[in-house]
């Protein structure tokens, strides 16, 4: 069975695209081969900056013959129909077979597909793969020339196609021409360290000859080589490489023959913050940072050259060092300018120009936004154990570094620089930390801020963003979430959960939404209307939600409920509840995703979401965790069945009788011992559950509930609910209602599946 080797040789492929391109080549070609009947034993794809390579082992030399049976028209069908069938099947009339079927005699055709040589199939499949290659960005080149040329798109100009099938007898080129490029059995080695064409006979020969020509084909091998050499070079000097898997992957995609060189950072730059050195070296130069583990300072760098030289890289290193010095001179210049600024005008002063920076057309400037966040941070501070003044102060300066020269140059240093500049401005450490930490958590695995001031600012920042975009109806849709609102919501959730923050989210959503509404309508509203809305804002703190607060204000001012949606008051009061509810349910959706990852089933979460107080996420999660744990026990599972049975019987009876059975059952009508026992058990359980619920000890409440399992089972075992005695029947139904009330008081068990 032959092996197949393909190499597509081009000008330099962007490093970030190489990995996926190799995988795409493998998928397109092997899928195509299999679809055409050519199975294979194994395949592997590789990429270097100048080539994509695919090796396929143990390919069938020829696709198998196949025969296909096709059912045609009935015998006696019009000629036209029969001729059409013959054309489609590619057979003649005398080749048709008549067969009896339950629907009468029908023509059948048997079509023989002869197997094809592998080479023929490979050429077809590869051409289709090349012409339809899913590059994220592709281009045309040259192409004034011959007809049929200039139509090909590739990531950069494609120069040659190597395509050979090889077996014991030797290697054979699979002949094909794509856009004027004729396939062959040759390639080239390293651009500078090799010359001339290399003829290859198979994958092993190819990989070995490339290595001799200074090309390491396997990107993993290049990455490993870089990492090992860099680590050893650093270790030899008592230093360590700052790990960066993304950078390693990228650098491995920039070289065919990696040569690790370690160089010095000039003394004058070492006092720069390590993050600055690291970012500047990585972003501009693709250097690894080399750290002194004793001091934590970045003292050297590692660059990866693409060749060996007679001077062992001395020239290359000197050049890189010089470029780095120029880069770091810029960074140092920014750093010193920024320090001068914060020392003279303070961090808030540095942030002044943010008044001229638009955050969002409809949400005002960055300064407007910062003012809102500061106010909210102050409001939430007492709930997170932070001082309101300090939290407000922190929020007011937390984004000031967006105006710094350093962050202008390196946006990814936002927050990090803020912390340094806050310290330089001699602000309290908690404020400085908030400058950096308030952006967190950025991702699901990012650390959550814990310091109270940071928590207050981080919470306020995210909630202001969410309510703002909800107010202007810019919500995430499908895969589109340009303002990273899902991430912001998850951030709020994680901040609440990991800091055990007891707060009613509704209140904060409503008041922050209302602030946005006020800002939106400030121009169009009448003074009295604005006053009423401002007043409502104050009342929300007492009433908890917009609706109640708004009505209290209306009453106080002696105003009618505005029905007219042409007035600002009317518009705002009509819009607020729906938007607020929508945002809360967005939070709930994110929470569900989060809890599902923690292993809590969606129906368990739904059962808890249906309970009052579901905007208190701590309460919600406590309940869900207890319920999930409870349902995993036998008692829990059986109690659930008992509840469902009780609930079903009750619902049916209620529907039939047209009444709700909620009037207390009386033990004096109990006939059966099991019935009396259930009464006693319910009394006992209720006595235990009430204080447990009061103390939010859901686990204790559920455990008390589980004591009901045996009495309920025994009751159903012994007693017929729907007896002829209407008094007894009513009493039993009311008894079931007690079970229902107790169970539903803990969570909405009707939503539990199974």
């Amino acid at each position: 069975m032959p092996d197949l080797l393909i190499e597509l040789f081009s000008e330099e492929i962007p490093a970030r695209m190489q990995g996926k391109a190799a995988a795409d080549l493998q998928k397109l070609v092997t899928d195509g081969l299999v679809d055409a009947g050519l199975t294979y034993a194994g395949a592997a794809a590789f990429a270097t900056p100048r080539r994509l390579c695919l090796g396929v082992e143990g390919l069938l030399a020829r696709s198998p013959d196949t025969r296909e049976e096709r059912k045609g028209p009935k015998v006696g069908a019009p000629d036209k129909a029969i001729e059409g069938f013959l054309r489609g099947a590619g057979v003649t009339r005398d080749q048709l077979e008549e067969r009896e079927t339950p629907k009468g005699a029908v023509y059948f055709a048997t079509i023989e597909h002869e197997g094809r040589e592998a080479g023929e199939i490979v050429a077809e499949v590869l051409e289709v793969a090349i012409r339809n290659f899913p590059w994220p960005k592709s281009m045309r080149w040259g192409g004034a020339g011959q007809p049929g040329e200039g139509s090909l798109r590739w990531v950069r100009p494609l120069h040659s196609i190597l395509c050979i099938l090889s077996d014991e007898a030797g290697a054979q080129v699979v002949p094909m021409v794509v856009d004027g490029i004729r396939s062959g059995d040759t390639t080239q080695g390293h651009r500078f360290m090799a010359s001339g064409e290399i003829t290859v006979t198979g994958f092993d020969d190819y990989a070995a000859k490339l290595k001799a020509a200074h090309v390491i084909l396997d990107p993993q091998e290049r990455a490993d080589h870089i990492w090992e050499d860099a680590k050893n070079a650093a270790f030899a000097q008592g230093l360590e490489i700052v790990e960066d898997a993304g950078l390693l992957r990228e650098v491995a995609g920039l070289v065919e023959w990696p040569v690790v060189l370690m160089g010095d950072i000039a003394e004058e730059f070492i006092p720069l913050p390590p993050e600055v050195l690291q970012t500047s070296m990585k972003e501009h130069q693709k250097f690894f940072s080399v750290r002194n583990p004793q001091t934590g300072r970045i003292e050297k760098f590692v660059t990866v050259a693409n060749r060996e030289t007679a001077d062992h890289g001395a020239t290359i290193l000197a050049g890189n060092q010089k470029v780095l010095a120029a880069r770091l001179a810029d960074a140092k210049f920014f750093w010193e300018n920024d320090l001068r600024t914060v020392r003279s005008v303070g961090l808030a002063g540095m942030g002044k120009p943010l008044a001229n920076v638009t955050f969002h057309r409809e949400l005002g400037s960055q300064s407007d936004r910062i003012a809102r966040i500061a106010k909210l941070a102050g409001e939430v501070a007492p709930l997170v154990g932070a001082l309101p003044d300090l939290s407000e102060e922190a929020a007011r300066v937390a984004k000031a570094d967006l105006s710094s020269e350093m962050v202008y140059e390196f946006p990814e240093l936002q927050g990090v620089m803020g912390r340094y500049y806050a310290l330089a401005a001699e602000l309290p450490e908690s404020v400085a930390n908030a400058c950096e930490a308030h952006y967190s958590p950025l991702g699901p695995s990012d650390d959550v801020p814990e310091e109270p001031v940071s928590v207050a600012v981080a919470f306020a920042d995210k909630l202001d963003t969410l309510t703002g975009f909800w107010a202007i109806d810019e919500k995430p849709t499908g895969s589109k979430d340009p303002y990273a609102l899902r991430r912001a919501a998850l951030g709020v959730i994680r901040i609440i959960l990991s800091n055990d923050l007891r707060l009613r989210l509704d209140r904060f959503i409503d008041s922050q939404l209302l602030k946005h509404e006020i800002a939106q309508h400030a121009g169009a509203a009448e003074a009295a209307e604005l006053a009423a809305l401002e007043n409502t804002l104050d009342e929300i703190a007492d009433h908890g939600v917009f609706g109640a607060a708004f009505h209290a204000v209306l009453q106080k001012l002696g105003l009618e409920t505005p029905g007219d949606t042409d007035t600002v008051l009317g518009k705002v009061s009509a819009k607020m509840p729906g938007v607020s509810e929508d945002l809360l349910s967005f939070f709930h959706d994110r929470l569900k995703v989060h809890l599902r990852e923690e292993g809590i089933r969606h129906d368990v979460i739904d059962a808890c979401l249906a309970m009052p107080g579901n905007d208190d996420l701590i309460l919600l999660v406590k309940r869900a965790e207890a319920l999930a744990g409870f349902l995993k026990t036998d008692d829990g599972e059986n109690l659930l069945q008992g509840f469902k049975r009780a609930n079903n019987i009750l619902s049916q009876a209620e529907e039939k009788d047209g009444v709700e059975y909620s009037f207390g059952a009386d033990v004096k009508f109990a006939e059966d011992a099991s019935e009396k026992a259930l009464f006693a058990a319910l009394d006992e359980a209720q006595a235990a559950i009430a204080p447990a619920m009061e103390g939010e000890d859901f686990a204790a409440a559920m455990s008390a509930m589980s004591a009901l399992r045996a009495p309920i089972d025994a009751f159903f075992e012994a007693v017929q609910i729907n007896t002829d005695n209407q008094v007894v029947r009513r009493n039993r139904l009311n008894l079931l209602a007690r079970i229902r009330d107790i169970c539903l008081g803990v969570a909405d068990l009707t939503r539990i599946e199974g």
């Binding site: 000008e11 330099e12 962007p14 490093a15 970030r16 900056p49 960005k137 281009m139 045309r140 080149w141 040259g142 192409g143 004034a144 020339g145 200039g150 990531v155 950069r156 100009p157 120069h159 500078f192 920039l254 070289v255 130069q285 250097f287 660059t303 050259a305 693409n306 060749r307 030289t309 007679a310 001077d311 001395a314 020239t315 290359i316 000197a318 050049g319 890189n320 010089k322 470029v323 780095l324 120029a326 001179a329 001229n356 920076v357 638009t358």
Partner: protein, 309 residues
């Protein structure tokens, strides 16, 4: 730094060697365009000639101005006036990378000692409505050139595709000559009777222009000039194709394009003066792009633009 013996001695020698090299490779060596531009790409020999089906090969030095980059001649690497070396070949030859590497050797970069890399860099000019794919070329970690296969100019697909090379001459020369501050770079041969440094030639002008660009240029006048250039561009192109005097078909794509260049440079000056807000910025860029597009539309209707009657 170890350089081979054929290392050039001055800034001008590097330019001369590039001129000779690309002349030998068959390019028409043109002269700089006689207007203020932000980059060599603005020269009509690139922008307009990249359009249409006619073959083309040109190389030239282009003085370029970026008013916002002025540093009064103090920054070792930043200038508001600097030189670019520009090569445009249409269609892009299959060995363009090798030709380019040859040019580095011609200016004294020894390929056996240096690390040359092609690092992804997609080029886009929002003011010209142009984009292409290619690389920035690194020599020992320093970007020495921009290498681009033009895909679109003025909103038109480029067929055939041009290959464009842009060398930042000062930076490249500083590296080759081993100079740390641009003003210290020898402009002519340091052994000349009258040796001149880059600073002798340009230090004072950098100061003068930096002051003018940032603080003195009359923004009202500039704004008016911008509007005038914009109006003139459209007015030129509005004329009928046949010249009533000569009876010939004469589409005035180049004179119109001059107005587009003018508007673009004035926009850069206004930007340096700090009188354009972030939101306005986009609008101005859009207005220049609209001019570039109209000029491109007109050029493809001319003979040089591949129009055949």
């Amino acid at each position: 730094m170890a350089m081979s013996d054929n290392r050039p001695k001055s800034f001008q020698e590097i330019i001369l060697r590039l001129q000779n090299y690309w002349a030998e490779k068959g390019c028409a060596v043109l002269q700089p365009y006689d207007m203020e531009v932000g980059a060599g790409t603005f020269h009509p020999a690139t922008t307009l000639r990249a359009l249409g089906s006619n073959a083309w090969a040109a190389a030239y030095v282009q003085p370029s101005r970026r008013p916002t980059d002025g540093r009064y001649g103090e920054n070792p690497n930043r200038l508001q006036h600097y030189y670019q070396y520009q090569v445009l070949i249409k269609p892009s030859p299959p060995n363009l990378q090798e030709l380019y590497l040859g040019s580095l050797e011609a200016i004294g970069i020894d390929m056996a000692l240096h690390d040359i890399r092609f690092v992804e860099d997609d080029w886009e000019s929002p003011t010209l409505g142009a984009w292409g794919l290619g690389w920035e070329v690194w020599c020992d970690g320093m970007e020495v050139s921009q290498f681009t296969y033009f895909q679109q100019v003025g909103g038109h697909d480029c067929t055939p595709v041009s290959g464009e090379l842009t060398y930042g001459l000062e930076r490249l020369a500083m590296y080759v000559l081993g100079v740390d501050h641009v003003m210290d770079m020898p402009f002519n041969d340091p052994q000349s009777p009258i040796a001149l440094s880059y600073g002798d030639v340009f230090k004072q002008t950098e100061e003068e222009y930096a002051r003018w660009n940032f603080d003195v240029a009359n923004a009202d006048v500039l704004l008016r000039h911008f509007e005038e250039a914009e109006a003139e561009c459209a007015a030129i192109l509005a004329h009928e194709h046949v010249d009533p005097k000569t009876g010939k078909r004469i589409i005035m794509a180049h004179p119109a394009y001059d107005q587009c260049i003018k508007a673009s440079h004035i926009f850069n000056l206004l930007d340096a003066r700090g009188v354009i807000s972030v939101t306005e910025r986009q609008a101005y860029i859009g207005r220049v792009r609209a001019l570039a597009k109209q000029c491109a539309d007109a050029f493809v209707l001319t003979e040089a633009g591949g129009y055949a009657a």
